[in-house]
């Protein structure tokens, strides 16, 4: 049994006539100790999908209209609030994009980490444990850092504190939503290195959300690429980077400037990412797709396993 199994998740914002489908039939699994990357651009539904794992999206305005989220076999969407509280932190922890906004500015970071400990491992809610966690995430001189307020720390440090808070409860799954996007590139390297090391030492599964395909190469075992509320490609990471199958994935990789690349025109994807409620009929990428055929706009393609472990939502994936 997988640690996490998301099956055909469907979620709307708003109800009835106003409903906008933000997540449309998303399915993927995460095994224990595995790192899965969820890649996509703004509005594709990746953040909302990740937040749904612990049912962190407020309902209303969100509205789950279908599917299941099985965490260790139990459906999160049907859990009571008591059960939810115990899995939040206990089984799945989150690290968010803006560490400055996720830390409470009026409490010392030592106390904030202790709060996480008190909720899930109360017998360990001690300064010693806090120091151990700070050491684990690579914060130098942790004994004096316990007393710091968030504003006294840099962005990279704050993110490490966030990670320490997330790890305090010893979760099985760490969900990191664009944890390095707001950080400088050298600090980003530090944090990614830290996540890799923690993965090795603690055997933790990670769901890493990003729009940066480079991070996928460094960190992921498997990748799910999302577009307009759906998964369009699901594959082991190395395979996807070596040979992407979906036109969107191919176009995305081609449009990103690479170091040592040629200085010719980038092959840009025309048009804009469709907004919620304005999804085109049929295949949602068709209006921007370089190999789109008329029948692409008639019927929404299914996500199909075309090679071992590789799923694509495009009937013409074989085209060059």
């Amino acid at each position: 049994m997988n640690l996490l199994e998301i099956k055909n998740l469907k979620m709307d914002f708003g109800t009835d006539a106003d409903a906008l489908r933000a997540v449309d039939g998303v399915s993927f699994n995460i095994g224990a100790g595995e790192t899965v990357c969820l890649v996509g651009e703004s509005g594709c539904g990746k953040t909302v999908t990740a937040l749904s794992i612990a049912r962190l999206v407020p309902t209303p305005p969100a509205n789950y209209v279908g599917g299941e989220i099985l965490l260790n076999g139990r459906d999160v969407l049907k859990m009571s609030s008591g059960e939810l509280r115990s899995i939040r932190g206990g089984v799945v922890s989150y690290v968010f994009q803006e560490p400055g906004a996720s830390l409470n500015p009026v409490f010392r970071i030592g106390n904030q980490i202790k709060e996480s400990l008190k909720l899930h491992r109360p017998e360990k809610a001690t300064n010693e444990e806090v120091i151990r966690l700070l050491k684990l995430v690579g914060i130098p001189a942790p004994e004096s850092r316990i007393k710091n307020y968030p504003f006294e720390m840099s962005g990279g440090m704050q993110q490490r504190v966030m990670i320490a808070m997330a790890l305090a409860s010893e979760p099985k799954l760490l969900v990191a939503d664009e944890p390095t996007t707001a950080l400088d590139v050298t600090i980003q390297a530090q944090i990614l290195e830290l996540l890799s090391e923690l993965k090795r030492r603690l055997g933790m599964a990670i769901l890493l959300i990003t729009h940066n395909l480079g991070i996928v190469g460094d960190m992921a075992d498997r990748v799910a690429v999302m577009y307009a509320g759906q998964i369009v490609e699901l594959s082991p990471a190395k395979e996807l980077l070596r040979r992407p199958l979906h036109p969107y994935t191919k176009a995305l990789m081609a449009s990103v400037p690479k170091l040592h690349g040629t200085a010719d025109r980038l092959s840009a994807i025309p048009g804009n990412v469709p907004r919620l409620g304005n999804f085109p009929p049929g295949c949602r990428f068709a209006p921007r797709c370089p190999i789109a055929k008329p029948e692409c706009s008639d019927k929404l393609p299914e996500l199909v396993e075309v090679e071992a472990g590789r799923f694509v939502r495009c009937p013409f994936w074989k085209s060059p």
């Binding site: 590139v185 980003q188 530090q190 460094d218 990103v256 400037p257 170091l259 040592h260």
Partner: protein, 336 residues
């Protein structure tokens, strides 16, 4: 004569410590920076937060007042101008911003936004001519004429950025400061805007100071690249050269920190310890020495001079040229 010549530019911000402090402290955001840009050329400017690149860009267009030094545009010192003379010169240099959502007045239509530029400098003499010019500008950035009556919130990030570019183009500038113009955009849209900027440069001969933190983007669009750290320039060279053979340890670390899409590349990541130090109390000697893997005693005490270390390649490092990692092999990506 160069289009832009920046000489010993300094931008210091006083840090107020209350009414009774005697010695004022300064944030040395830009600390003695000099460089040139030729007409029609793109100079890339890279660095991390706090390095002063944004302040430098804004100081050149006088959105921030320079503390010392000169900014010569076609030989005239813009840093000393004021009043109507400055206003007239402003046509020569413009700026586009990072935040597509904050860079357009939400209560004005696209036509009013772009038209304002024309009106300030009286660039058209009739309503009809103004209309025509606005439509021309919108077309030049890839927007349809009917968008002129729309409001900013009706557009996506990429489209708003195009509107900002149209506004900057309206006054026919010779230099545009691009302050992280694609960082806040979706990946699939970034390439569109980069292509647009290149096309406009080829058509109109506009020079760019392209400020970004993404080295790959900067390398792609720039002829030369400048790397800044804590208010100082640490390395300047041709784009290709600086990526292939970076001389300064910081540049090397910056390059190696970029996550690379190629799964086969087996490179040694250089992870710099610690954080970028505060620009109020920069370290003595070389500003980079606390984080530098090869720092020596000399680096702690002596500020390295910015000197030519190879042909047209400048770096400020006592140990310039020492490799702190094996040079990365340019990854040959398979056709995708």
């Amino acid at each position: 004569m160069s289009l832009l010549e920046v000489k010993n530019l300094k931008v210091y911000f006083p840090v107020k410590h209350g009414m009774f402090s005697r010695t004022p402290e300064f944030v040395k955001a830009v600390d003695n920076v000099s460089f040139t840009i030729e007409p029609g050329e793109t100079l890339g400017l890279v660095g991390e937060s706090g390095c002063g690149k944004t302040t430098l860009g804004r100081a050149i267009v006088r959105l921030v007042e320079p503390t010392a030094g000169s900014v010569l545009l076609n030989g005239e010192n813009v840093a000393q101008m004021s009043g109507s003379v400055l206003r007239a010169r402003r046509r020569k240099f413009q700026i586009i911003f990072q935040d597509p959502y904050g860079s357009l007045n939400p209560r004005m239509t696209v036509e009013q936004i772009v038209g304002e530029a024309l009106d300030i400098h009286k660039l058209t003499d009739s309503k009809a001519a103004r209309q025509k010019r606005i439509v021309e500008l919108l077309k030049a950035v890839g927007l349809d004429a009917i968008y002129a009556q729309r409001y900013p919130h009706e557009f996506s990030g990429g489209q708003r950025q195009r509107i900002g570019i149209a506004r900057a183009l309206a006054v026919e500038p010779e230099l545009i400061i691009c302050d992280e113009p694609v960082s806040a955009l979706d990946v699939s849209v970034q390439a569109q805007i980069i292509n647009l900027l290149r096309d406009l440069q080829q058509e109109r001969g506009i020079a760019y100071l392209f400020i970004a933190h993404d080295l790959a983007v900067v390398e792609h669009i720039s002829r030369r690249v400048m790397v800044m750290y804590l208010g100082k320039v640490v390395e300047t060279a041709d784009a290709k050269t600086i990526i292939r053979e970076p001389q300064h340890p910081y540049t090397q670390a910056l390059i190696s920190a970029i996550p690379e899409v190629d799964p086969e590349s087996k490179r040694q990541r250089i992870i710099l310890p610690g954080d970028v130090p505060s620009p109020i109390h920069p370290p003595g000697g070389c500003p980079f020495h606390p984080r530098c893997p090869i720092a020596e005693e000399r680096c702690r005490t002596e500020v390295p001079a910015f000197r030519e270390v190879a042909r047209k390649h400048f770096a400020a490092c006592h140990l310039a040229g020492t490799k702190i990692a094996s040079p990365r092999n340019p990854a040959r990506s398979d056709a995708v």
